[in-house]
Amino acid sequence: MPQTADVRINGKEFTVAEGTSVAAAVLNAGYSMRTSIHGEPRAALCGMGICYECRVTIDGCQHRKSCQVLCATGMEIETT
């Protein structure tokens, strides 16, 4: 069992501990998660899949709730 996962966030490589949520990885990397329709930066608020503020693009799929997805090696994560 691997103890870490290698992911790319906005094109940069990061290694995180196994079991790290995408939300935690993105925040640790220093990014906000999305931009509101009025141009404000947004990031995880509830951390439990309710508020939709933490949406990111994962492997080309937009609007994934990053607090509900665990990092896996090879994952491409993009914030907006």
Binding site: I37, R55, C61, Q62, H63, R64
Partner: protein, 357 residues
């Protein structure tokens, strides 16, 4: 103020009728039990589409679509008027024959359309599955956000002296004990409750809207098989019918059911509808839906709305029964109703829309 005309129902049809009558100088009272544009107006897609199922349907939708084009510049931005055009998608050669038939039908009546082959269609809508035969493109068809339009039409009516009474439900025409006012029943699927004998049945539909995916869909897409499924009266049916909203959201339809008056979402129908959508757009399953809902179309046996004097109730005029085309045909309905009330010459023949019962 004693009203000359009382319009019951501030859906888009009632709102358009109130606007037209107030514009013509009548003192109008609008009575709405719930929200303005809160019934079928809010539930539907807001597709302004010229249809060709019958000459009368073509005449009404075409007349109304031109009225929408005239109104477009006056609409507030919240009405989200977008001339996205419709693509009638043909799955196979049989449906391509239908594309050619529709193309010549429209051409003979002055509506510009284009025939797209498989390759054109792939370029126009890259998220459709490969292997479809082509499509008919109707560039002048448009999309609006209907509740905002209904509110705008009520505002216009009020600027011309109309009064709005909201939160009042009329249970019986006798409650409107005004011997001189004419009454317009614009209550859609509820119309028979106030005008007994009027042959209107509710036809339930489901819709689902996604999060924002700008560019995922570019035109209103409707399968040509829709023509088959939308007309089967006895069975529940679904059709591929998706729409790009100005927000980038994708509105996914559609379903049709008779005999259900329960507004609850039926997952059996939602599932069938989404499977149909995924058959045409496989990647639609990767989008996140944020809300689903149902609504009731007001359907008539003749597939045409009732626009005219009630045969049973003196002083009552009917503007109901617009089924799935009420947004499109609302503006023409208002003109044709006012033409009859004010003895003006109508732009198209009135007979096909005479109220039945």
């Amino acid at each position: 103020m004693a009203a000359d005309a009382i319009v019951i129902g501030a859906g888009i049809v009632g709102a358009a009728c109130a606007d037209e009558l107030a514009r013509c100088g009548l003192k109008v009272l609008i009575v709405e039990a719930g929200e303005i544009g809160g019934g079928a107006t809010a539930a539907g897609m807001g597709h302004i589409v010229v249809m060709d199922d019958s000459e009368a349907e073509f005449a009404l939708t075409h007349y109304s679509a031109r009225l929408w084009e005239e109104l477009a510049d006056e609409l507030p931005s919240g009405a989200e008027y977008t001339a996205a055009g419709t693509l009638w998608v043909a799955a196979d050669d049989e449906e391509m024959a239908e594309v050619r038939r529709k193309h010549s039908f429209y051409a003979q009546r002055g509506v510009r359309t284009e025939i797209l082959d498989a390759q054109d269609l792939e370029q126009a809508e890259p998220n459709l599955r490969k292997g479809l035969a082509g499509a008919l493109f109707v560039p002048a068809d448009a999309i609006v956000y209907p509740p905002r339009v209904a509110a705008f039409l009520v505002e216009c009516a009020c600027r011309n002296g109309a009064r709005l009474e909201r939160g009042r439900r009329i249970h019986n025409m006798a409650e409107l004990a005004n011997a001189t006012a004419l009454i317009v029943n614009a209550t859609g699927a509820s119309a028979p409750a106030l005008s007994p004998g009027l042959d209107i049945q509710p036809r339930k539909g489901h819709l689902l809207i996604t999060d924002r995916y700008p560019g995922f869909v570019r035109h209103q897409l409707v399968e040509l098989g829709y023509l088959k499924s939308a007309h089967s009266i006895d069975e529940d049916s679904v059709a591929f019918n998706v729409q790009p909203r100005q927000t980038g959201q994708v509105l996914i339809g559609s379903s049709r059911q008779y005999g259900s008056s329960d507004p609850a979402i039926e997952h059996r129908m939602m599932k069938r509808m989404l499977e149909r959508a995924a058959l045409y757009m496989p990647s639609i399953g990767r989008l996140s839906a944020i809300r689903g809902w149902t609504g009731f179309r007001a359907s008539t046996p003749g597939k045409l709305p009732y626009i005219g004097r009630s045969p049973r109730q003196p002083n009552v005029w009917i503007a109901s029964g617009h089924e799935g085309l009420g947004i499109t045909t609302s503006l023409a309905t208002a003109k044709l109703l006012a033409d009859q009330i004010l003895n003006r010459q109508p732009a198209i023949p009135l007979e096909p829309y005479a109220p039945n019962g």
